[in-house]
């Protein structure tokens, strides 16, 4: 299989290099033109995300144009001064397919099981398809990669569980509350993680978001950015009567909420649960607040505990996914090997001969003994004449199957049911 790939990812290149290798959509347009027109590649897909830039091409196995691809990257990204060959991995044939499948399944991601990568590969492929740089082989390889990604998500738990502080907090909230659209959240502080958590809550459809900070202006900016209502910091204790979720990420040397302050609030709330996420360091909320029956207080350590467990579980799924990849690779190469010319010609001849013989045997008794030999001869001639044109067309490529020949072979195998023989 003449599939060739080159790429740099979080394992081989530092972040500043990865940033500089990233292809924006605008750059991609020109990049494909150069790959096709200047470098003469017929098929290419460029996958470029914040953690990886990879190019997949179809090339002649005798030339292995890694140098061309590296030069192309250097030229396109003005990267001659900082790109070193050791930042890049190079793969060919099954190695390239195996790598693509690992990426699509999420096991090659910086955070194992990253669910975005499959969508990013799909986007990259559809863009290339639009640019008409994908062909017969690339289509099959990428469609197999999509199937690997889908199977990984459906048949394993690789994408299960939150793996960031903000997601873990939202996951925890959804283990307490059934319908977030009926709940109110209060964000105390304007820190980055707090903001991310509030954004995730918004995405999950939280009913109302209230924001407070020591500096009102920062609260207002945040409220404008993510949507929400600003409340005065001095009044935040009173807000706890009405809010169900509290995210605190303020910078403070002492606890802003102590257990005795919560006592009266909890009496007024009855048994309504109050979920408090304390992501401040040092902690913002007195740990003793957790003593109240309806208070669920979690700090950054308990959220990290959730993340660690989820990551461990995801890593435990890798062997199952590797098995899926092996299965799909076997299928891909079975298909690819079936596209060889001579076995296809032989299979097609065998099939026609089988049909001919069966029909002759079925009707042979209707013919005189003298005519039977003639029957055999005539039917053989018919079969030979029927097969003559397809065989000649297939043989014109003569041993070095090009794209068109592979496509013809695949069509013939499909039309005559020869795939089942594999």
């Amino acid at each position: 299989m003449n599939l060739l790939s080159i790429g740099a990812n979080h394992r081989t290149a530092p972040i500043d290099i990865r940033e500089r290798l990233y292809f924006s959509e605008k750059e991609l347009e020109r990049a494909y033109e150069v790959l096709l027109n200047k470098y003469g590649f017929k098929e290419a897909v460029i996958v470029s995300t914040c953690n990886r830039t990879e190019i997949y091409t179809v090339t002649n196995p005798f030339t292995m144009r890694y140098g061309d691809l590296l030069n192309f990257i250097k030229e396109q990204k003005n990267a001659s001064d900082f790109v070193k060959p050791e930042y890049f991995y190079r793969q060919f044939a099954s190695g390239a397919a195996n790598h693509l499948f690992s990426v699509a399944s999420g096991i090659d991601s910086m955070i194992v099981g990253d669910i975005q990568i499959l969508a990013q590969i799909k986007d990259a492929y559809y863009y290339a398809e639009q640019k008409k740089t994908t062909g017969f082989l690339m289509n099959r390889v990428f469609n197999t990669a999509f199937r690997v990604g889908k199977r990984a998500r459906n048949e394993t738990e690789i994408g299960e569980g939150a793996v960031s502080i903000s997601y873990a907090a939202v996951e925890l909230a959804s283990k307490i509350f059934a319908d977030l659209s009926k709940k109110r959240a209060l964000l105390i502080g304007a820190g980055e993680t707090g903001e991310l958590t509030a954004k995730h809550l918004k995405n999950k459809g939280i009913g109302e978001l209230r924001i407070t900070n020591r500096t009102r202006q920062r609260s207002q900016e945040l409220a404008d950015r993510i949507g929400g209502r600003v409340v005065e910091f001095e009044n935040f204790i009173g807000e706890l009567k009405q809010c169900d979720i509290v995210i605190s990420s303020i910078s403070s040397d002492e606890h802003i909420l102590k257990a005795p302050m919560l006592q009266g609030i909890m009496k007024q709330r009855g048994s309504e649960p109050l979920f408090i996420i304390d992501i401040g360091v040092p902690r913002n909320i007195d740990p003793a607040c957790n003593k109240y029956e309806s208070v669920f207080l979690h700090d950054i350590d308990s959220l990290k505990h959730i993340i660690d467990r989820n990551l461990e579980k995801r890593k435990a799924e890798i062997p199952i996914i590797e098995k899926i990849i092996r299965e799909e690779l076997v299928e891909l190469f079975k298909w690819y090997n079936s596209l060889k010319l001579n076995p296809t010609i032989s299979d097609l001849r065998q099939m026609f001969e089988f049909i001919r013989q069966a029909e002759v045997e079925k009707h042979i008794n209707r013919f005189n003994k003298d005519d039977r030999e003639l029957l055999d001869l005539v039917t053989k001639r018919i079969v030979n004449k029927l097969l003559h044109t397809p065989m000649t067309t297939l043989r014109t490529s003569n041993g070095d199957p090009q794209e068109d020949t592979l496509s013809h072979i695949s069509t013939i195998r499909k039309l005559f049911g020869l795939e089942r023989k594999d």
Partner: protein
């Protein structure tokens, strides 16, 4: 028909065991084949169980409510059917393992000890009695399911509160759903028990002429009814939620079972027919 009933009697605990295996596998490992098969398997088991109960009724010419072991198979059926209904309407699939455990044990005991009561006392052939027993069994099955959901609530509550994120945390639905399922099952059970007591009080003078209001079983049943009534009222009036209600449902069920056992084993009652 006798052979069919005998075969089904042996088959049922195997089916419930199979269900526990499927629900257990699905609970501990998602994306397994058990995930796809379990609900269909439960529906098939419930149908087979229903056929068994109908065949038994036809064969022995009385509904299977005349011995404790007949009643146990009916309770197992009620629990499984109730859970199938709950799973269907709530689309919550992660709790079957726990709810079906009591059904499995009730069925095993019934299969091992059930006998064919040839002669049924005339008193047990009343339609009113049939209605009374059916609603009582549905009621007990529903409060058993409610208590199981209450127990699951407490397990998940403990996991979240103590930062112990076990498989319980991962697989169970959220606390509010568990609380709602526990409450709805218990409320349904309470309504059924109320009907059972009401119908029982109607049937008593017809069946016996003389009414035994001091009968221990009658007092026990009223005690259980009052216990649940207080619990349900306190949720409404005192605004009890969450852990308090879950503890109440679990403890009320334990007290109910304890009370039934004590009354059945240590007191003589007009309410014993076998």
């Amino acid at each position: 028909m006798n052979t069919t009933v005998d075969v089904l009697n042996i088959l049922l605990p195997l089916l419930y065991g199979g269900l526990l295996f499927l629900y257990g596998r699905s609970f501990f490992k998602t994306a397994s084949r058990a995930d796809r098969l379990k609900t269909a398997a439960l529906a098939v088991t419930v149908i087979i169980h229903l056929i068994y109960l109908l065949l038994r009724t036809i064969l022995f010419n009385h509904p299977p409510i005349t011995t404790p072991f007949e009643i146990m198979t009916v309770i197992a059926f009620c629990i499984a059917a109730a859970y199938l209904f709950i799973e269907g309407i709530s689309k919550v699939h992660g709790t079957g393992l726990f709810v079906l455990i009591p059904a499995f044990f009730f069925q095993i005991i019934s299969t091992l000890l059930i006998s064919d009561l040839g002669e049924v006392p005339e008193i047990l052939r009343s339609n009113l009695l049939g209605f009374h027993v059916t609603s009582a069994l549905l009621g007990y099955a529903a409060i058993a399911v409610g208590a199981m959901y209450g127990l699951l609530y407490l397990m998940l509550y403990h996991d979240i509160k103590s930062n112990h994120f076990s498989v319980i945390y991962k697989r169970l639905p959220n606390l509010e759903i568990l609380e709602s399922m526990s409450f709805r099952s218990t409320l349904f059970g309470f309504i059924c028990l109320s009907i059972a007591i009401g119908v029982g009080l109607l049937w008593l003078p017809i069946a016996f002429g003389e009414i035994f209001y001091s009968d221990p079983k009658l007092i026990g049943s009223l005690f259980i009814w009052v216990l649940y009534a207080v619990g349900l009222v306190s949720k409404r009036v005192a605004g009890w939620h969450g852990r308090k209600i879950a503890v109440l449902h679990v403890s009320a069920f334990i007290i109910a079972i304890f009370s039934i056992t004590i009354v059945n084993f240590f007191f003589r009652s007009f309410h014993q027919f076998y």
